[in-house]
Subunit: 313 residues, 2 copies
């Protein structure tokens, strides 16, 4: 995902299971991370593997976490050469350097599941599991409209300029169309807390009245909240982030008026990819295709079920 480039210092191959025989083996290759979205992704990958090993004793797993694309390539080559995997679940560090190596895995007759970030060549994978970026924007916009039935003035922080960001913003804008909600400022906070602090400082100095903020991401929301607090501004009614960061889900659950909701873009989609790949190995159910994980609105009513106390995210 977009945050995978941050905080990758740990490179480790955990040989989770190595039982031979009739067992089938799934290799899971993901970027390493100890915190943030990618940290959550690591947590949920390990949790899914633990659960599946218990549920299906004949399934073995090889989990490799890489600190850079070159390491991920060698992890994957190793899985084929020495672990004889039957299926690969890969969240590519970057699209370009992983495309050839993953294509080689497919050509070797293995099942390939790609998660979140697509490869540079279409049609390589059997299964693609990804988030719904237009839906993320749409659900966020619909929430804004429901929360501000009489309209209002908002500012928007965008992510790093990418297709992902464009799809989100377009979905949001379509959802608020004609609602009376006016975007009085929109700048790139680059999915970064510090950048977003600065961007929000600028918004606050330029606009004496802001009703709400679509921060569009929980890291950016953290920066926005810090800027609002530092300025002592009382006019802003709420901030809508997104992705489902643990601390923000807790604030919604606990009825913090500034964080009344969240919109998921779950790092646990790696678990979905691993689980569905396993279904393909243990059952007759067809699992090739595209699985787009929906972005769900989190409110105080359902926040508890989106709060994972042991996850770093």
């Amino acid at each position: 995902m977009r945050k995978l480039l941050l905080g990758m210092s740990v490179a480790a191959i955990a040989l989770v299971s190595a039982a031979p025989g009739m067992a089938q083996t799934i290799g899971v290759s993901i970027p390493a991370a100890t915190h943030g979205w990618a940290g959550g992704m690591n947590y949920f990958a390990q949790e899914a593997i633990t659960r599946l090993e218990s549920a299906y004793p004949d399934l073995d797993f090889v989990l490799a976490t890489a600190s850079d694309p070159a390491r991920q390539v060698s992890d994957i080559e190793d899985m084929v050469a020495t672990r004889n995997i039957d299926a690969l679940v890969v969240l590519p560090f970057e699209s370009e350097p992983l495309t050839g190596p993953v294509q080689a895995v497919k050509q070797a007759g293995k099942w390939v599941t790609v998660v979140d970030r697509g490869l540079s060549v279409e049609g390589i994978q059997d299964l693609y599991v990804a988030g719904d970026n237009p839906g993320f924007g749409r659900v966020s916009g619909e929430y804004m409209v429901s929360k501000m039935p009489d309209g209002g003035k908002i500012v928007v922080l965008r992510g790093i300029p990418t297709t992902i960001d464009n799809e989100r913003v377009e979905g949001f804008q379509a959802a608020i169309e004609g609602s009376g909600i006016e975007i009085i400022g929109m700048e790139h906070g680059n999915w970064n807390r510090d950048t977003s602090f600065t961007v929000m400082q600028d918004f606050l100095s330029r606009h004496s009245e802001i009703d709400a903020v679509w921060a569009s991401d929980d890291d950016m929301a953290m920066g926005v909240l810090a800027a609002i607090e530092a300025a002592g501004r009382q006019d802003i009614q709420f901030v809508l982030g997104g992705a489902g960061m643990k601390e923000m889900i807790a604030r919604t659950r606990d009825n913090d008026p500034m964080i009344p909701a969240n919109v998921t873009y779950p790092p646990s989609m790696i678990a979905t990819a691993i689980e569905v790949t396993a279904v393909g190995l243990v059952s007759n159910a067809p699992v090739s295709g595209n699985f787009i994980i929906g972005s769900v609105l989190v409110t105080p009513e359902n926040a508890e079920q989106y709060y994972y106390p042991d996850s770093p995210f």
Copy 2:
């Protein structure tokens, strides 16, 4: 699916499991059928339930097969009222009459998975599992191009005039564009064997030379093959059906030159829907969203893995 209206004579509720306690219960509501695509769907639903009951002792299932929409509505109401289901997996007999009742299940706080045929109101279900109609056409067209590298004259049989049929044909036409393959006749065979026999008879009388047929469905392919045989024509090199009918997969597997390939549109997608719904109940993996099951090319090399000896389809 499009064939569900055919051959529905058996109405039965199988109370597969009724264990009380901490267990979670999944209700599965599908149209009844003893043969054809819907017969296969019934087979794979039951097979998935049997597998999951064994894998997860805490999961219970209620399977109801209905012979008409009204019966399906009462099946679903009964699942909520007397079986206290936690989740519903439904393949609607028809969209209109099922939309309200399924919406009521969602409003009662249950998980809802809709399979293959969408409801009339968007956004009701948590998970939608369906086939890939544009992909079905594209894969079929790409196979035609690979099989006829120098081009040729083909006739095409279409299904019942529907969005499904339009998407398939458009995908096919885009895939053969510029290949030298010329469609010299295209008529609706309505996914019906007898109708397709008649349509193909007409094609044969009008065209003295036909290189291949895109029958676009295995039932239609059966009618086409019968017409070719009755006419004693030797010019047609092969017929490409689709959906993965057992008898046709066997002919591909056994290297029948007239049936060199198939393109899946698997009735076992009901099993995928049940399996993924179960994953949602037993794990932390998010499974809301849209899962579009890919249409896969079946050739003699991989046909064995798409042949299910115990399925009626």
